[in-house]
């Protein structure tokens, strides 16, 4: 039975079928690797360090790192209980809450920025109330954090929820049998078991916050030192001086790569 169709099927799904994986994966990987390599190659030049260490670049980098770290912490502190509630409690309208939480992930960031402005801007619905407390959000560093949290925190909640749902039901039952309270169940059983997923969710949140642009520029604006994060600086620098934009992009790529590697090493150490 060596008809041509059989031989073809054999080579495709038999021993030589690895090439399907290689080619398809390779194409997608190339989409990521080629532009990154191109940016790095183009940026190499005599002005690299003058641009990289310029006041604007350093301010943008520090602002980005600080705000995205704060965003990650806020997402973890408030997002973990929320994810736990969604994973293990049963209540009415849960699916509506999950829908609202998933929306910021799929909405364009500019929509997020506009929504934040309409809600919390000076003339927004909560503007006057915030004003009474002496808070005016737009154009502040706090606004940068809020914009980042709006678009990035849902990613954390999603990862955490999947993590919590995956915990073996029997463990939860035996914890109840032992007389554990909700908080004890949460802190002594759930968290240790899901720490890996929570960590990767936090990294995802951090990287999304670091790259946030659309919501930031609408809600927080663009002012060096206060609200000009790396992505905004790159966008503005793009027109002024391509060299500056390239250097800032490369710095961002390398900083992200370093943080990702370090965090990965930390993850591995836990086991």
């Amino acid at each position: 039975m060596n008809k041509p169709s059989n031989r073809l099927r054999q080579s495709l799904v038999g021993g030589n079928s690895k090439w399907i994986f290689v080619i398809l994966s390779g194409i997608l990987f190339a989409l990521f690797a080629v532009p990154l390599a191109a940016v790095v190659l183009r940026s190499i030049g005599p002005d690299f360090f003058t641009n990289a260490l310029s006041r604007q670049a350093l301010k943008a980098l520090s602002l980005s790192l600080v705000t995205s770290s704060i965003t990650m912490i806020i997402s973890a502190v408030f997002g973990t209980p929320l994810a736990y509630v969604l994973a293990h409690w049963k209540f009415k309208y849960k699916s509506w809450i999950e829908l609202i939480l998933d929306l910021p992930i799929v909405l364009p960031p500019s929509v997020a920025g506009l929504a934040l402005l309409i809600a919390f801007g000076r003339n927004g619905y909560f503007g006057p109330a915030l004003n009474v407390l002496g808070i005016s959000l737009p154009f502040t560093t706090a606004a940068v954090v809020i914009a980042q949290t709006f678009v990035a925190a849902p990613l954390y909640v999603r990862s955490a929820r999947i993590g919590f749902s995956g915990v073996d039901k029997q463990l939860i039952e035996s914890a109840h049998v032992e007389g554990a309270s909700q908080w004890q169940l949460f802190s002594e059983v759930m968290i240790p078991l899901t720490s890996r997923i929570l960590a990767s969710g936090a990294i995802l949140t951090w990287t999304r916050a670091l790259g946030e642009f659309g919501a930031t520029i609408l809600f927080a604006g663009n002012l060096v030192g206060t609200t000009q994060t790396m992505p905004v600086a790159i966008y503005v620098g793009f027109e002024q001086n391509l060299g500056v934009a390239l250097v800032l992009s490369v710095v961002l790529i390398f900083v992200s790569a370093i943080v990702l590697t370090v965090t990965k090493k930390l993850e591995q150490r836990e086991y």
Binding site: L12, G121, R122, P138, N222, L223, V236, E239, L242
Partner: protein
């Protein structure tokens, strides 16, 4: 499984031809007064401040030339110039500043001789409709605690605003530290002039400096005139791109912009005609 995939892709390819054999009752009208052949596309990269005016001009041009579609890309002139330098396909570039046009001329993308100035524009201070900070005069821009929004210095409108503040600092009425005080009040440097308009319109900022054409496009805004001796006259150039796929149509469009109809539309939107 593979057969299924192949079938799927084939089916998604060319749509099946219509089964009806009848010829449509109306033939497309023969080209009459227009010099442009049917089904032509024109891509115009224009400064953000031209949004409304060029929108009207585009519609009028399409109405006068059947089969022509005009697509616009509105953004800060500096963004557009960079996009064109990086290979974005455009037929025409209309800039708010000669500097951005010169960048393209130097880069060999625009022929200097083909560039035409087609309007002038001046700047004005805009205030939110409710004027929450009670800004009454230009001097008030230096009031401490005021939230001022300007275009970034890379944006023509921002560059001109900077020049105006500079001019004011040289004027004894305002004082040499005027520009420092106003810049201390700046809370954001936007990437195009329409974003400045938006922030002021929403009441997030107390004041902004934009083109008088932007103020006319949003009549609810309050304005404070900038005196002629301190103001900047922005001359906008328009030019076809050397790499345009449709040079004849591009030239036709530019002729329209410079014609009395085109200039009348620009005047309606607050620009000053060039002639």
């Amino acid at each position: 499984m593979i057969a299924l995939l192949i079938f799927f892709f084939a089916a998604c390819g060319t749509p099946a031809p219509p089964t009806s054999a009848t010829i449509p009752a109306t033939q497309p009208p023969a080209a009459t007064a227009t010099s442009a052949p049917a089904s032509q596309k024109l891509t115009v990269f224009a400064a953000a401040s031209l949004t409304q005016a060029f929108g009207d001009i585009g519609k009028a041009f399409e109405a006068a030339n059947s089969g022509v579609t005009v697509t616009f890309n509105f953004a800060g002139s500096q963004t557009l110039a960079t996009q064109i330098q990086q290979g974005a396909p455009a037929d025409i570039f209309a800039s708010a500043s000669g500097t951005n046009m010169d960048t393209l001329v130097t880069g060999g993308l625009v022929d200097k001789a083909a560039s035409r100035n087609f309007l002038t524009n001046i700047l004005v201070v805009i205030l939110p409709p409710a004027n929450p900070a009670n800004v009454q005069t230009l001097q008030d821009l230096a009031k401490p605690g005021l939230k001022v929004v300007l275009g970034d210095v890379t944006v023509p409108a921002g560059k001109y605003a900077s020049q105006i503040l500079d001019n004011m600092s040289k004027d004894p009425t305002y004082g040499t530290d005027f520009i420092t005080k106003v810049l201390a009040n700046v809370v954001s440097n936007e990437t195009d002039v329409k974003q400045v308009v938006a922030k002021v319109q929403l009441g997030e900022a107390d004041a902004g400096i934009v083109y008088v054409s932007d103020a006319i496009a949003v009549p609810t805004l309050k304005t404070i005139e900038i005196p002629a001796n301190l103001n900047v006259i922005a001359t906008y150039p328009i030019a076809p791109l050397i790499k345009s796929a449709n040079p004849a149509l591009a030239a036709h469009f530019i002729t329209y912009v410079l014609s009395s109809d085109g200039q009348a539309t620009l005047k309606k939107w607050g620009f000053t005609p060039i002639k």
